[in-house]
Amino acid sequence: MIAFCEDCGNKNHLPDQADGTKRIIFRCSRCGYPNNYAVQDTPHPDNTCEYDHGHGVGVFDLLLGAISALPEIDGSFVFSNADGLIAFNMPGLFSEKQTKALAVLLEQTYEGPKQVYRGIKDMVLVTQNKAVLVKSLGRSKFLVVVAARFPLPVQIMEKLNNLIASFGKKRSKMTL
């Protein structure tokens, strides 16, 4: 089985676990981080997809996989102004169609104030029982993370930020 490191997002190949395993414990083969986290149910194929719009298939796999494995995180997806939904991992939460509709509304919500308020970076939409974090991944791409609550515990927020930061560094290297 494949497990993502919570710290650096590295893809680790582990021996297959017995059915019913709820937690996986392993040390990351790259950074050595001691991972110990709950395993989510296998997502329905309809709720996980990756598009190739010229960005390369699988580019966002690591990021979304690692984010969705964090506690208190319900799912995540990436969309762009030009290409719409690029990748999503929303197990048991939204279908592809629903995620696309959500992406359009979030984009409109996020973009409006950017026209008149300078220097807007991220957005958080807080509802009664969820929080939706929208983070810019450059000029036109956005990462959306659906969380069970807001604010997230500091440790989880730090891990989330680290994952995004390390993803950004990797992307920069790839671009160079």
Binding site: T109, G112, P113, R118
Partner: protein, 120 residues
Amino acid sequence: MNKKIKVLEKIARIKGVREFLLVDENRVIKSHGAKDPEKKAESLINCSQKAGSISKSGYQYLFFSRENQNHLLVFPVGTFALGIIQEKGVNSLMLANQVKKALKDIDFLYEIKESLTHDR
């Protein structure tokens, strides 16, 4: 004291509120410390309406982080939208909770309607 002043002063007095802007679809109801309020009004009401349509139960608030640390918070107030710019270094979550409480504590819509009637 005019009821509108009473309501909005309560929000303006919250520590960390640098500027606020209360808007509806057609106009700026009240602004405090905001530059170009008319320009910002349309953007605020549009984003509030979009956010409100995302969840069946609406939304509690929107938080926009900004590079200069003067973060923007948007609250739904009935059909109005309340935009608040916070002071640097203020705890945004605490501020949001205080504003939410202030909005709950008062019959905001009633008082706004009353104040609009008085203004005519």
